[in-house]
Symmetry: C2
Subunit: 356 residues, 2 copies
């Protein structure tokens, strides 16, 4: 350490997968989702101060690797995330990620974290925050079509924020539904296993679609969706990947995170570029309407935006103090004299020789 | 670990500042620079296969934070780097950085590394690689104007690749020159300390300018530079920061890394957007001329490009095998069943309770 620099500024807290799981479990999954949702909502409400840019994608035949940066003027954050649909065949995650926060005033990182688990949590928390504004007021039952890695997180977030305690589950793969039921047992849900998407949506006020195939799929057709329903469309999140029939989009009110990104990646890639959509930050600040009446069909065309990852990292950082759920990484060179990087390297050599 | 995934694919090697210094010192700084230079040259020679994009910058009043991604189709890499000129006043580095490599075919990270020291090494190695093509053949003497953090790295790289053993040093701050002389003593240089930039360039065949102020400066004026000289202009590397008088640019042949970036950030920001420059990859592949004769004045308008960081990370990765100079980071969630991320989280909770 040099004399002038703040103590330990060269050391960056790192939250590993193991520590993230310990942090989440020590707080409790439901509480974690509820608190995380507050941070997400707070950041949506100060949307205009964020430095926003569509994600920077590097595409290949097998998938995509993306960087998602943003800044609120005081803190800068970015997430690295990949999407490789064929990974599951090799026993790998389709989506993995990590992220960091740093100080805008000096550029020094202040947090580095796994984001595979954290992304699953923030995606679910975002869906639930949005549903507070869009779902019918008396909703207690949600259909989940697609019972893969994200499904239980969605269920827990909707329980935490909206007291949804009835689930209707369907997946083309019965084993996925088995897994989802097993994981959610004892969590306070009344669960109905359904053998078709049509059955799953019966009586549900909220429909969550969260399937994984990278192709134009039609999980929901128009005649399956009654009026007054809120659709939480999570699975369609890249070019060429959609879940809803175009006719549903045309008779619903569509809500999005960041139109320049959603028009490329979301369900609305099926619609003309100027098709009217409502930005969620405007709903949350009161500048635009959310649900107006009980007959309206609403759609959250979720694709995931950089500010949500920023909120998630900000929340994790706020919860690390006083815990042991992080390691300290020696990430930043910190010579006694900032201009003497070479001298630091030379002195390290002498130190090595001394210890031999 | 799940049964199908490659062993330890969830564990990412991390090279800390301490381990980077140990790695460099165990190889030897000169050897490290020479081998690193080979990786940089190799990647310039296969320039056309790289996915290139100008860096993604987030500007603030105090500085800039940038992400520099690239890919060769098999490996993806990016660097995080900040530039905060006022940081030195607080005892902090102006520039810090870290970077990573990952596999394009599955998106999984394979290396995470500090890049403050590594960037200093790659910047110097790049300058020396370029000088192999542009400096006069008989060059043995280099002026270094600006004796800050990058200066010794430049000296060592030019010694390693071009056998430059005479240095002429000048800095407006005599303490910086003191430090540079101290650090380079016993490294096989004949060093002349000069009290002006004019004195420093006398008799030098190569002039390296590597000053740090973020402003339009004129370190070299036209009458200071004789014919046949190679100028290695390292310090001017962002909008509003230049080191050479425009008249020198107009009578020299200018060589650049990636024109779309250099026209914004380099010395040539002083020239019209269509001013002819030569791309270095073309010189290295033989598609364009480097130095043609002994009267030609050449300029490397160095700004630093993502492929050089990629080369540096690729080199470090190749040198880690069989060493202990890395830690293992548990960065990637790896459930037994890729769709069972939530179950992994639940089971971690049970594990915690078991150990209580």
């Amino acid at each position: 350490m040099n004399a002038h620099a703040p103590k330990d500024i060269n050391i960056v807290p790192f939250v590993s997968v193991d520590n993230m799981m310990k942090l989440v479990n020590s707080i409790g999954i439901e509480t974690f989702l509820g608190e995380l949702a507050q941070f997400i909502e707070e950041d949506f409400k100060r949307w205009e101060i964020f430095d926003k840019t569509p994600r920077i994608a590097s595409h290949s035949a097998e998938g995509v690797i993306e960087l998602m940066p943003t800044s609120d003027g005081e803190v800068y954050g970015f997430k690295y995330v990949n999407g490789h649909p064929k990974n599951t065949r090799a026993g790998l995650q389709t989506v993995t990620g990590f992220g960091m926060l740093s100080r805008v005033d000096n550029g020094y990182p202040v947090l580095f974290s796994e984001m595979t688990i954290l992304t699953a949590l923030r995606t679910a928390a975002t869906s639930a925050v949005v549903a507070k504004y869009l779902a019918p007021q008396d909703a207690d039952c949600m259909a989940i079509i697609g019972n893969g890695a994200q499904s239980e997180f969605q269920a827990m977030a909707f329980k935490s924020l909206l007291n949804i305690n009835k689930l209707r589950l369907y997946d083309i793969d019965a084993a996925a539904t088995d897994k989802c039921i097993r994981n959610l047992s004892g969590k306070g849900f009344e669960i109905e296993r359904c053998d078709s998407a049509e059955k799953a949506v019966e009586g549900a006020q909220i429909i969550t679609t969260v399937t994984a195939d990278k192709q134009y799929a039609t999980i929901l057709t128009d005649n399956m969706v009654g009026s007054g329903i809120h659709i939480n469309a999570v699975g369609g999140d890249c070019p060429g990947k959609t879940e809803l029939h175009k006719d549903i989009l045309l008779r619903a009110d569509i809500f999005v995170e960041y139109p320049p990104q959603t028009r490329v990646e979301g369900e609305i890639q099926q619609l003309p570029d100027n098709y009217p959509v409502t930005e969620l930050w405007q709903v949350m600040t009161g500048a635009a309407h959310g649900r107006r009446n009980s007959r309206q069909t609403t759609i959250f065309d979720s694709v995931g935006f950089a500010t949500e990852d920023f909120s998630a990292l900000r929340y994790v950082r706020s919860r690390l103090d006083g815990t042991t759920y992080f390691e300290k990484l020696d990430m930043l060179a910190d010579p006694d004299d900032p201009r003497d990087l070479f001298g630091m390297l030379l002195r390290a050599q002498i130190d090595v020789h001394k210890t031999l």
